[in-house]
């Protein structure tokens, strides 16, 4: 039961695709390389688990909870935009 719970709160990253491709937008792929993160472990928030920049930042923040949030991390949530 505890296991199921953990899975629900930390869902598995996207399932492996026929051609092994990880679905992520170009900027997210770039950022993952910059942060030295394994994209296959990042949970994407888009359709089909598509990974956006904010997902990579959120993943990084989850990896390093003890650290003071950096500027980049602070921007990880999607704030309401000026309008």
């Amino acid at each position: 039961r505890a296991q199921a719970n953990a899975q629900a709160t930390a869902p598995a990253a996207q399932p492996a695709r026929a051609d092994g491709r990880v679905l992520a937008v170009p900027a997210a792929r770039q950022l993952a390389r910059e942060l030295n993160l394994d994209l296959t472990r990042v949970q994407g928030s888009g359709p089909n688990g598509r990974i956006r920049v904010s997902d990579v930042l959120a993943h990084q923040q989850a990896q390093t909870p003890a650290q003071v949030p950096t500027q980049a991390q602070a921007a990880s949530a999607t704030p309401a935009r000026g309008q």
């Binding site: 937008v25 170009p26 900027a27 792929r29 770039q30 920049v53 921007a75 000026g82 309008q83």
Partner: protein, 466 residues
């Protein structure tokens, strides 16, 4: 339970109306569409399509002239005006015939005649009366009039009259109104040999477009021989033996001058069209200016009556009407559709084209964004050179910090084709980096979009970055 003649009755078979009708039918609803004139509305009959046909013809005349640059010259050139008008009409017929066929194939009942509400579920079309569970108002818009200048559709025309090219092509033409429609006609008539003047009341032509783009566009139009006067208005027009005498006023200095033209186009905007609709009998709110406003599901104040397209509000553009038509149909069919477009693109189909989607630099700043921009000129594009069309540029408006794309503004060859990428990028919340990291085929005009994105980061390859 009440049964209605139709699940959905659409009033008006313009792009908004016919998209709504077909989508509703695709979703299994019983649909009728009332139209008092010809299916296809303004767009297919006297708007988007015939203007583009005329523009293409005009551009081919210009292209033949430019061909001399690479050694291709022609003997005497002849333009059979009757054939030109007929060719254009043929395209219109093909497309409107296509919509009729699609109605049949999708089992949409086409009701010919003027529609008006009897109550909120009952509509009279011609002599007959129909009931419907949901009703979509898609009655469109018509040319705004200008006091003192009476349209006769021969010497003084609106956009509909301007579509019939006279033989011979008028030597001197005045376009009153420097918006999209004014410039498309100015361009056609110029290419076919007229001396064209455009006057615009506002301080700038093409309202809504980015200031830098407008500047480049204006320069290109002037280079082609179109004379442009902003902050000028036409007070009155008088038909005389030698042409139409128009009093033109400089609204800044108050100076007035009379000039003579062979044809005068009034293109000062469009107004919503809800005449004879008797919307009040259905309890539907019509604004003072004649619009029938709708929410994001395209519902009017009466929740089972929808309003879409030009009559629903600005911008008065066919693709906005289409989107709203699909949304209304899907909402009626119980789908969670919403008109949630991030941006509605705009295009002037001249050569170069002016095309944009999203926020202008000024709008972005007004909205409080911290903005950076990137520009790439077509003069540095190999593909543009081979197409002999190097005027213009791509300008990208991006939020600093997040790199989020806010708007794309293009003056140049095939600019409207490049809106595909720009529009998708905006809807996908793409960043300039997403575009810059995407491989663009070489040599294509789209590389200018890529390079403008690189320029945002000071990393364009084919220009020196600021």
């Amino acid at each position: 339970m009440t049964t209605y003649d139709f699940d959905v009755l659409v009033i008006g078979a313009g792009p908004g109306g016919y998209h709504a009708a077909i989508r509703a039918a695709q979703l299994g609803l019983k649909v009728a569409c009332a139209e008092r004139e010809s299916v296809g509305g303004v767009c297919l009959n006297v708007g988007c399509i015939p203007t583009k046909a005329m523009l293409h013809a005009g551009e081919q005349v210009a292209a033949a002239r430019h061909a001399a640059e690479f050694g291709l010259t022609f003997g005497e050139q002849k333009l059979d005006i009757a054939k030109l008008n007929g060719w254009k009409d043929g395209i219109v017929k093909k497309l409107t015939g296509g919509v009729s066929s699609l109605f049949k194939a999708n089992k949409v009942t086409h009701l010919q005649g003027q529609a008006s509400f009897l109550d909120d579920h009952t509509v009279q079309v011609g002599e007959k009366t129909y009931t419907a569970g949901s009703i979509i108002i898609a009655t469109g818009s018509e040319p705004a009039r200008l006091p003192g200048i009476e349209v006769d559709q021969v010497q003084i025309v609106d956009s509909t009259g301007a579509l019939v090219m006279p033989d011979p092509v008028p030597a001197r033409m005045l376009c009153i109104g420097g918006g999209v429609i004014g410039f498309e006609f100015a361009h056609v008539y110029t290419n076919l040999g007229a001396q064209v003047k455009v006057i615009e009341f506002a301080p700038s032509i093409i309202p809504g477009a980015d200031a830098d783009a407008v500047k480049a566009f204006q320069k290109a139009m002037e280079k082609q021989g179109i004379s442009i006067a902003v902050q000028h208005k036409a007070n009155r027009a008088e038909k005389k033996a030698d042409g139409v005498h128009v009093e033109i006023e400089n609204v800044q200095t108050g100076e007035k001058k009379v000039e003579v033209f062979d044809r005068v186009l009034v293109a000062v905007g469009r107004r919503p069209r809800a005449d004879g609709l008797n919307a009040e009998k259905a309890g539907v709110t019509v604004t003072e200016r004649g619009f029938i406003p709708a929410d994001k599901q395209q519902r009017t104040n009466a929740p089972h009556i929808y309003s879409i397209g030009d009559v629903a509000g600005n911008p008065m553009l066919a693709h906005k009407a289409m989107k709203e038509g699909l949304v209304a149909a899907e909402v009626i069919a119980g789908k969670p559709a919403e008109q949630d477009a991030v941006a509605i693109p705009g295009v002037v189909y001249t050569s170069p084209e002016l095309a944009w989607v999203g926020l202008t630099e000024a709008e972005a700043k007004e909205k409080g964004y911290d903005v950076k921009t990137g520009n790439f000129p077509f003069s540095a594009s190999g593909r543009a050179m081979t197409l002999q069309q190097t005027d213009g540029f791509v300008k990208m408006v991006v939020e600093k910090g997040t790199d989020l794309l806010l708007g794309v503004h293009i003056v140049g060859p095939h600019a409207s084709d490049m809106l595909g990428e720009a529009g998708l990028a905006l809807e996908m919340a793409a960043t300039a980096s997403d575009i810059a990291l995407t491989v663009h085929a070489h040599p294509t005009l789209g590389e200018a979009v890529l390079e403008a994105a690189e320029a945002v980061h000071g990393q364009a390859i084919h220009i020196m970055n600021r």
